[in-house]
């Protein structure tokens, strides 16, 4: 694929370009984990308020994506994975994306504060701030720990959903945040193992570029070993039931097998084990939070906390 070596000639932005600017795939995962936080929380939230909370989470996630693309426009055009985004393609200017992103961010936080509660609004504002200022503007181009620390912003939606219902936080939502936080490094480093040339070209200090692939494989394995028991923990503190426990156990074991395979993988040209690990990491995350939603919908009680 030919990369955009300079901003392409301007063309009229379509509605689809503005949709793509909000990173819809990331947004869908955020909506999903946010919804899990809402349904797993004790207490009641009326349907419309729950919808508004989820809408605010989705819009803030989209706004963060737009701001990220605005501030990373110079490196996005250098990488195969990002060269076809709306800004490198010349459909939207970085300034337009910035205005769009900040408008949506402020709107989403204000709406959350006005119609849901201030705790959820504060957490939402912190999430946008952390993703844009801490991850995008500060860490991403400076340290290979960029996605480790920056991953906190992607981990917060279940806590925001929980806070939307309860107006507070407790051990369970913090555990959900910790699970996504620990999941992020093996997920993104698996991707970066076969995209390392892309990141190197753009000067982004991803782990395989800075420390090498062997070190990355070792760290993927370490984070996975920490993640699997953490993933089981909600069932042991009375925050999840048997469906969740089965998913976390079985798919967690699959996750661990693929992390070990990635550790021993030596086909650096194709990285087949890393591809499989990336896919299973998505399945793991989806299954964990889907099981929380299913258990809530079917009224399956959480396991006793003493288990």
């Amino acid at each position: 694929m030919a990369l955009a070596t300079s901003y392409a000639e301007n063309r009229a932005a379509t509605v689809g370009d503005y949709f793509a600017l909000q990173k819809p795939r990331v947004m869908s995962l955020v909506i999903f984990t946010g919804l899990a936080g809402i349904v797993a929380a004790p207490g009641h939230i009326d349907l419309l308020t729950g919808f508004v909370a989820l809408l605010c989470i989705a819009v803030a996630a989209g706004a963060s994506g737009a701001l990220n693309m605005s501030y990373d426009a110079d490196i996005d055009r250098l990488m195969t994975r990002t060269a076809t985004r709306p800004i490198p393609m010349g459909a939207i200017t970085p300034g337009e994306a910035e205005g769009f992103g900040w408008t949506l961010s402020v709107g989403a936080v204000a709406l959350m504060g006005l119609f849901v509660n201030l705790v959820a609004a504060a957490l939402l504002a912190f999430t946008v701030f952390f993703y844009v200022a801490v991850y995008t503007l500060w860490l991403k181009r400076r340290t290979p720990q960029n996605i480790v620390i920056g991953g906190l912003s992607g981990a917060l939606p279940p806590a925001i959903g929980w806070a939307a219902v309860t107006g507070s936080l407790s051990l369970a939502p913090i555990l959900f945040v910790a699970i996504i936080f620990m999941w992020t490094p093996p997920h993104f480093w698996a991707l970066s193992l076969w995209r390392s040339d892309d990141y190197a070209r753009a000067g982004v200090p991803m782990m395989p570029v800075v420390r090498g692939k062997l070190s990355t494989r070792r760290q993927i394995l370490a984070y996975t070993v920490a993640l699997i028991p953490l993933g089981l923990a909600p069932a042991f503190i009375g925050a999840a039931g048997p469906v969740y426990l089965a998913c976390a156990g079985l798919i967690g074991a699959w996750f661990a097998v693929e992390a070990v395979a990635t550790f021993f993988e030596r086909d650096e040209a194709k990285e087949p084990a890393a591809h499989r690990l990336f896919r299973v990491s998505l399945i793991y995350m989806t299954a964990l939070f889907a099981s929380l939603i299913v258990e809530s919908a079917l009224h399956i009680a959480p396991l006793a906390p003493w288990l």
Binding site: R11, T14, D17, L114
Partner: protein, 40 residues
Amino acid sequence: MTGSNNDPDKARRRRSIAIALALGALVVLFYIMTMMRVHP
């Protein structure tokens, strides 16, 4: 992103419609949420 990239007027028109729909939906949402708060 779409096949209408070469027609700026069409793209602008569709953007305007999308903005109008989004604003309209927000007005309805704000109205309902405010009514819920005022008359719970």
